[in-house]
Amino acid sequence: MLIQQVINGLILGAVYALIALGYTMVYGILELINFAHGEIYMIGAYLSIIFLGFFTTAGLTQDHLAISLFLSFLLSAAFCGAYGYTMEKVAYRPLRKANRLSPLISALGMSIFLQNYVMLTQGSTDIVFPHLLPPLEFTGGGVTVTGIQLFILASSFILMGGLYFILQKSLIGKAMRATAQDRIMSGLLGVNVDLIISLTFILGSVLAAAAGTMVAIYYGTVNFSIGYVAGIKAFTAAVLGGIGSIPGAMAGGLILGLVESLGAGYISSQYKDLFAFLILILVLLFKPSGLLGSSTREKV
C-alpha cells in the first residue's frame, strides 16, 4: 500500500514538476506568474489526443503505434510552443513596463480566454484518449506498476535532465540564466533579451505539452478545465521548491505529488486538493523563498 502510493505520487509529482518548470522559468526572468501556463498544459493534452485521433483515421496507428505516438507528442509540443510564444507576444510583451497589476490581470484574462476557447471548439464534455497501448503490468510484492507509469517516469526524468543540460551547458541556457539574474545588464552585454524571453516561454510550453500528453495517456480522459487546478498545483510546487529555481521546481513537484498521493491514501481522498493549497499557504507564510530558492530583498 505504502509503496504503491509512493509510486502513484511520483508519477503525479513528475507531471507537476514538468508544469512547475514553466512557471519557475518565466518567473525567474519576468517576475510574472503566468496564470495561463496551466491552460497550455491542457491544450497540450487536447492536441496530443486530437493528433493521435488524426493518425488513427489515417491508419497509421495500427502498424506504427510508437511512431504515431511520438509524432503526436512532437506536433502537440510544437503547437504548444507556438501558443506560448504567441501568448507572450500578445498579452505580456506590451505590458513589460506597466505596473505589476496589469500583467497579472492580462495573464488571468489569457487563461480564461484559452479555457473557453477550447471549451467552445471541443465541447465541455471529457474527450477520451484512444485505447491503443497494450496493457503491460509488472506485479511483485503486492505492488503493481504499469508500463505507462514507467514510461511517464522515465520520459519526464529524461526531459528534466535535458532541460538541466540546456540551461547549464548551452549558450542559450547561459543567456537565459544571465537574463534571469539581471535583464538590463544582459541586454547591455549583447544578449537578445526579447528572444530569450520568447525562448523561455517556448521551452516552458513544450514541457507543459509533454506533461499534458502524459496525463492524457495516463488517465485516458481530458477536460477543458484540467489546466486550472493543475496550474495552481504546479505553481504550488514551484513555490515550494523556491520560485525561480530549476532544481527547486523539480523537487517541489515530486514532493507535492507524494504528499497529495499519501494524503489521499491515508487521510482523506475527499480533501485531496486541500493538501496542495495548505502547503502553498504554509510555505508562503513561513519560508516564502521555498526549499531551494534564495531569498531576495525587495529593491527600492
Partner: protein
C-alpha cells in the same frame, strides 16, 4: 505620439497588409487542430477584421473617450454645487421610479446589476484602491450567503439580523485572509487568494452537516418587513437599491478621506508609503475587511432573494466576473466600476445569442483593456488629474 497622418499612410502600405495577413494566418494556424479548416479560416478572417478595427478605429476611440472623461471631470468641477445636487437627485429619482415602468424580467436583471454593482464596489476597495489582487473575492460572497441562509433557514433568525451577521462573518474571514497574506507581494497574494477560494469550495462541497454539500441549502425564507414578506421582484429591486446607495455613499466618503489616499499611496508604492509613516499593515487589512464585508452583504441578499444557494454559485469564475467588472469599468474609479457592473450584467442579456461566448469575450477584454486602456472605461478622477497635469 506620431502625427496621425503618418500613421494613416503607414497603415495603407503593402508591407502593412502583408503583416496583417501574416498575423491573421498565424492565428488561424494555431487554431487549426481545434477547429478544422473552416473554423481556422473564420478565425483568420476575424483576427484580420479585429486588427483593422483597432488600427483604424482605436485612435479615434481613445481620443474620444479621453476627451469624454476629461470633459466629465471638468464639468464636474465647473458645475455649481446646487446643479450637481439636483442632477444627483434626478438620478436617484430615475432609479427609484424606473422599475414601475418595467416588467418583472427586466426588474430582475436590474436587481442583479445592482447586486453586482455592490460586489464590484467592494472588490474595488481591495483591487482598485489598495492595489491588492484578490482572486478569492467570491469566497467572501459565499461566506455571507451561507451565513445568512443557515441563520434564517435553520435557526429562524430574522433576515435583517442575518444579513449584517453574514457581512460581519465575511469581514472576519477577510481579516483572517488579510493577516495571513500581509507579507505577500502582489502575485503571491493573487495565488493565495486563489487557494483560499478553492479550499472554501472544497469545504462547502464536503462539510455536509453544515453546508449540505453540493445539494446546497434550500427553502431559505424570504425576508419580511413586519407582516409583509418580500416576494415581488420589485421589492428586491428596492432592497438592493438601498444597499447599493449605502455602499456607494460609504465607499465614496472613504475614498475622499485620509484612508482612501493612503490606500492609493500603498497601491503606487508600498515601501514609500510605509516610509512616509503610513501604517500599511493596518490599512491593507482594513481594505480586505471592508471589501469582504460588502461581499458578505451581497451574499446575504443573494440568499434572501433566491431562497436557494449551492457551492456552484460561488466559484473562482464568480471572482473573475466581478474582477472583470472592476477592470473594465476602471480600477479605482467608482462610477467606472458601477458602469462595469451594469454593462457586464445587462449586455449579455441583450445579446442572448452571444451568451456562450461571454467568458471568452471577458478574457479577451481583460487582456485588451490592460494593453490599450489600463485605466478602464471611466478612469478614476484622481488618476485623470495626475495625467492631465503632467502633460
Amino acid at each position: 505620439m506620431k502625427p496621425p497622418k503618418a500613421d494613416h499612410e503607414k497603415n495603407r502600405s503593402g508591407r502593412a497588409w502583408l503583416a496583417r495577413a501574416g498575423i491573421s494566418l498565424w492565428f488561424g494556424l494555431l487554431a487549426l487542430p481545434f477547429t478544422g479548416w473552416k473554423g481556422s479560416l473564420r478565425i483568420s478572417a476575424s483576427v484580420l477584421a479585429g486588427i483593422l478595427l483597432f488600427q483604424y478605429g482605436l485612435p479615434r476611440f481613445t481620443a474620444l473617450s479621453g476627451k469624454l472623461s476629461l470633459w466629465t471631470h471638468r464639468a464636474d468641477q465647473l458645475a455649481p454645487a446646487r446643479l450637481r445636487r439636483l442632477l444627483k437627485l434626478a438620478g436617484a429619482a430615475i432609479l427609484l421610479l424606473l422599475p414601475l415602468t418595467l416588467n418583472n424580467y427586466q426588474i430582475d436583471i436590474l436587481t442583479m446589476a445592482g447586486l453586482y454593482a455592490v460586489l464590484a464596489l467592494g472588490l474595488n476597495i481591495v483591487v482598485g484602491f489598495a492595489g491588492l489582487l484578490d482572486l478569492g473575492y467570491a469566497g467572501f460572497y459565499a461566506v455571507g450567503a451561507y451565513t445568512c441562509a443557515i441563520l434564517t433557514a435553520r435557526y429562524a433568525v430574522p433576515f435583517w439580523l442575518a444579513l449584517p451577521a453574514g457581512g460581519a462573518l465575511a469581514a472576519a474571514f477577510g481579516m483572517a485572509l488579510g493577516v495571513i497574506t500581509l507579507r505577500l507581494r502582489g502575485d503571491y497574494l493573487a495565488i493565495v487568494t486563489l487557494g483560499f477560494i478553492q479550499i472554501l469550495h472544497l469545504i462547502l462541497n464536503n462539510w455536509d452537516s453544515v453546508t449540505n454539500g453540493p445539494r446546497g441549502i434550500m427553502r431559505i425564507p424570504h425576508p419580511a418587513l413586519g407582516s409583509y414578506r418580500l416576494a415581488q421582484p420589485i421589492d428586491y429591486y428596492y432592497l438592493i437599491a438601498a444597499i447599493f446607495f449605502i455602499t456607494w455613499f460609504v465607499v465614496r466618503k472613504l475614498n475622499a478621506t485620509r484612508i482612501g489616499r493612503a490606500w492609493v499611496a500603498i497601491r503606487e508604492d508600498e515601501l514609500a508609503a510605509g516610509a512616509m509613516g503610513l501604517n500599511t499593515t493596518l490599512l491593507k487589512v482594513f481594505a480586505f475587511v471592508l471589501g469582504a464585508f460588502w461581499a458578505g452583504i451581497g451574499g446575504g441578499f443573494f440568499a434572501g432573494k433566491f431562497g436557494f444557494i449551492s457551492p456552484e454559485s460561488f466559484t473562482f469564475f464568480e471572482s473573475v466576473l466581478i474582477l472583470s467588472m472592476v477592470v473594465l469599468g476602471g480600477l479605482g474609479s467608482i462610477p467606472g466600476v458601477i458602469l462595469g457592473a451594469l454593462a457586464l450584467i445587462i449586455l449579455p442579456e441583450l445579446l442572448r445569442g452571444l451568451s456562450d461566448y461571454r467568458m471568452l469575450i471577458f478574457g479577451l477584454a481583460m487582456i485588451l483593456m490592460m494593453i490599450l486602456r489600463p485605466e478602464g472605461l471611466i478612469g478614476s478622477t484622481r488618476r485623470k488629474i495626475e495625467t492631465s497635469s503632467a502633460k
